[in-house]
């Protein structure tokens, strides 16, 4: 089976598994314990934090380990909203965020906050001037994702960060869960106050993520009791998970320079193949080298059903996804693709192909062969052929 669903989750790197396995065997202390075994765990935790900090160009104290990207987003958004509710109850986000941002904002609306969901252009990109125009007296937070998980479009984070410099009281959160190993992320240089990451998206383990919280930013924690992670996130730390996350981040960063051109070439090959050999196909999002992430390709086949395509490709030995994994069971057309202007029929016929650092050229060829075999047959059936 060829796995081309790396935006849903990735296969942990063998080195990641090895370090996790070692930690499970040797470092079983609780980092909060005072004795030697606890100290050993605490030192390892400190090392991990320093390593991730170096990669991101931030201070170790500004990193909070969480149970994943969803928790990081919930902590950032609810935490800031609640902490600063006295100052204002307005948030700005976009219509194309991941559910872990979008649903949090919807929830805050139910609790009495006001949220502006900014529209995006046809490529799925928000305009910085729209962010500026949406700012109100009582705006406390702007949350915009870096790489969109459904079609790969990269949002203008540095530009938004720059314009928010003039509004020091407005905090800026970025969901960068899809970025590590594919794009450079520089929260400090970009003027970002909070940034979310998740280990399983870059060949690390599931169940561990990280939230960057710029020093000086305060928030009301999502999880309390114990005071771990500088009080930002209580609960005994997932030591093997954190060490696995760190190892994966190191490897992803080391490999980025050689992996990205390869992924980008694969994306171009796939685009070329489908445009040359298929009819009625739409390519979603910004696919330019600057404007799109190298690992995500979103295709629409109006008239087809994404789940039918996914299963037909699976029969040919290729795994892709219908939309983001967290909502892949929903039947409704993707909210994100609709925000980009796709009609319902096009949106329900969309699939996402996403590559990983461990794919090989043959995988892409198999993917292309499967697509070019399956799609015409399905289109034929849908048009009433036999």
């Amino acid at each position: 089976m060829v796995y081309l669903d790396n935006s849903a989750t990735t296969q942990p790197d063998p080195e990641v598994i090895r370090v996790m396995s070692d930690v499970m065997r040797d470092i079983y202390g609780n980092p909060s314990s005072l004795h030697g075994l606890g100290g050993k765990a605490e030192r390892l935790l400190k090392q991990a934090r320093e390593t991730v900090a170096r990669i991101l160009g931030v201070s170790p104290q500004s990193l909070v380990f969480t149970s994943g990207g969803t928790e990081a987003n919930n902590t950032a958004i609810k935490g800031v909203a609640y902490q600063h509710r006295g100052r204002g109850r307005h948030l700005i986000t976009t219509q194309v965020e991941h559910a872990a941002v979008y649903e949090v904002c919807r929830q805050l609306e139910k609790w009495g906050w006001e949220v502006t969901y900014l529209p995006v252009d046809q490529q799925g990109r928000v305009r910085p001037e729209d962010v500026a125009a949406a700012l109100q007296e009582d705006t406390v937070l702007v949350s915009v994702m870096h790489v969109n998980n459904e079609m790969g479009t990269v949002q203008p984070i540095p530009e938004i960060g720059r314009l928010l410099q003039d509004y020091p009281k407005v905090l800026f959160h970025v969901d960068a869960v899809q970025s590590i190993g594919k794009l450079e992320v520089r929260p400090r240089e970009w003027g970002v106050d909070l940034m979310s990451f998740s280990g399983h998206k870059f060949h690390g383990p599931k169940g561990v993520g990280c939230l960057y919280v710029r020093e000086g930013v305060t928030l009301s924690p999502l999880l309390v009791g114990g005071g771990q992670e500088g009080g930002f996130r209580s609960g005994t730390q997932n030591m093997p998970g954190i060490v696995g996350f760190t190892k994966a981040a190191v490897l992803a960063e080391q490999r980025r320079a050689e992996a990205v051109p390869r992924m980008y070439r694969w994306k171009q090959e796939m685009i070329e193949a489908v445009t040359d050999r298929l009819q009625d196909v739409r390519i979603n999002g910004d696919t330019s080298e600057k404007g799109g992430a190298p690992h995500i390709l979103s295709l629409s086949f109006p008239g087809l059903k994404s789940e039918v395509i996914v299963h037909a490709l699976e029969e040919k030995g290729v795994a892709v996804s219908s939309k983001s994994a967290c909502s892949s069971k929903g039947e409704e057309p993707s909210r994100v693709l609709k925000a980009m202007g796709l009609d319902d029929e096009t949106a329900v016929g969309s699939i996402r192909i996403s590559t990983g650092a461990d794919n090989r050229d043959e995988d892409i060829q198999r993917g292309i062969e499967a697509l070019t075999a399956v799609i015409p047959r399905l289109q034929h059936v849908m048009k009433g052929g036999s």
Binding site: M1, H35, G68, A100, E103, Q107, G207, L222
Partner: protein
């Protein structure tokens, strides 16, 4: 070789648990929400683990929500129920003064968002006062949260009685059973609880995973929003290897529960016997009978806790002052304070907690070292 007597803080991962986890880090890496084969296989693995946890509690699989640990499960239970019942006009929570911080700090948060919280006192053995608890509730009480067994002194609370009372009053009952799971018989069919917290790393499972048992019909608002995982009650991609490991750990723990109880009781007894025959002065904190078998909290008047811990650590004995989460700061234990113990007892308390890897022999050896250390320290201070 260090002698690890801090199993209430955390336990080593059982080798078979690690074995069970590895395939889900290696080839079986899919996202359980994916609709293709990679995802479906993983979904089955999560379901199997859910069956294992449900089986250990005599619950139905649909009543188990996986979380990132005991802390998250406690937060979810209290905040989730409080938010849901606020819509019905409830604004009051009853708990005790000796809960884990995961419950106490969550109660503080509830106070911040407008709830009233009553912290019921305990007696000198750490037992909650049933009388005061009965008086604490009113017609706007949403939830009673009382831990099953205390993590610092081991005292077992009268959860059946509390649960029966809660039922009678139409109040929901949550119990933090993090220290009791794998040790005490937790049968939710028999036990009148509506929500129960458990954590994997206390039963030789991996860190970073826990679960909340939630009875049917208990209204619960999620803490984390986003994906549709855990039937929309806990968003976030599942920690699949962790969940699989937790399931296996629970299965092993259930198979060995009686032996484990006997084993830890013998270790505890051995420690007491050795200390007695060594002739050191000490008191046992907690309830003389109603206690978890693996926790032993002792005070050595005259031997300061922090100095003791440092000395014992140098001798290769790992133990704790209280719960691991608070021991980093070494404040006086809120549990012992709530028990109104004399100052010299408070300032010299040490928690020993036993587990699977301990031998009676090493516990006796540790006891002799402890006795010698106590003698040295108390002699010095004379």
């Amino acid at each position: 070789m260090a002698i690890y007597l801090d199993h209430a803080a955390t336990t080593p991962v059982h080798p078979e648990v690690k074995e069970a986890m590895l395939p889900y880090l290696e080839q079986q890496f899919g996202n359980p929400s994916s609709i293709h084969g990679f995802g479906r296989e993983i979904r089955n693995a999560v379901d199997r683990a859910r069956d294992q946890i449900a089986g250990a509690l005599h619950a139905a699989p649909g009543q188990v929500i996986f979380t990132s640990g005991g802390t998250e499960a406690d937060n979810l239970a209290l905040i989730g129920v409080a938010r849901a019942l606020r819509e019905q006009g409830k604004d009051h929570v009853v708990t005790t003064q000796i809960e884990h911080h995961a419950v106490l700090d969550t109660c503080e948060f509830l106070e911040e968002i407008g709830f009233r919280v009553t912290y019921v006192p305990v007696d000198a053995t750490g037992l909650v006062s049933m009388n005061e608890l009965r008086q604490a509730v009113d017609d706007r009480t949403a939830l009673i949260s009382v831990m099953y067994g205390n993590n610092e002194v081991g005292t077992l609370q009268p959860v059946e009685e509390i649960g029966a009372f809660a039922r009678e009053q139409g109040i929901l009952f949550h119990s933090d059973a993090v220290q009791a799971f794998g040790v005490e018989p937790l049968d939710v069919q028999r036990l009148p609880v509506d929500l129960l917290t458990i954590s994997s790393h206390k039963i030789n499972g991996p860190k970073g995973v826990g679960a909340l048992y939630v009875d049917r019909d208990v209204p619960l608002r999620p803490l984390a929003h986003g994906g549709q995982q855990e039937r929309r009650r806990r968003a976030g991609t599942e920690n699949v290897p962790g969940i699989v490991g937790f399931g296996r750990a629970a299965q092993i723990a259930m198979g060995n529960r009686e032996q484990y109880r006997e084993h830890t009781s013998r270790c505890r007894q051995a420690m007491l016997e050795e200390l007695e025959s060594a002739g050191v002065t000490f008191t046992v904190n907690g309830h003389p009978e109603r206690h978890l078998p693996h926790i032993l909290n002792l005070s050595f008047p005259g031997a300061d806790t922090e100095v003791m811990l440092m000395n014992l650590d140098l001798e290769g004995i790992a133990c704790a002052s209280g719960s691991a989460c608070t021991s980093g700061t070494l404040e006086l234990s809120h549990v012992l304070k709530a028990m109104h113990l004399p100052d010299e007892i408070l300032r010299s308390a040490i928690r020993f907690s036993f587990g699977r890897g301990n031998t009676e022999e090493e516990v006796r050896q540790a006891a002799q070292t402890i006795a010698a250390t106590v003698k040295r320290l108390t002699e010095q201070s004379k």
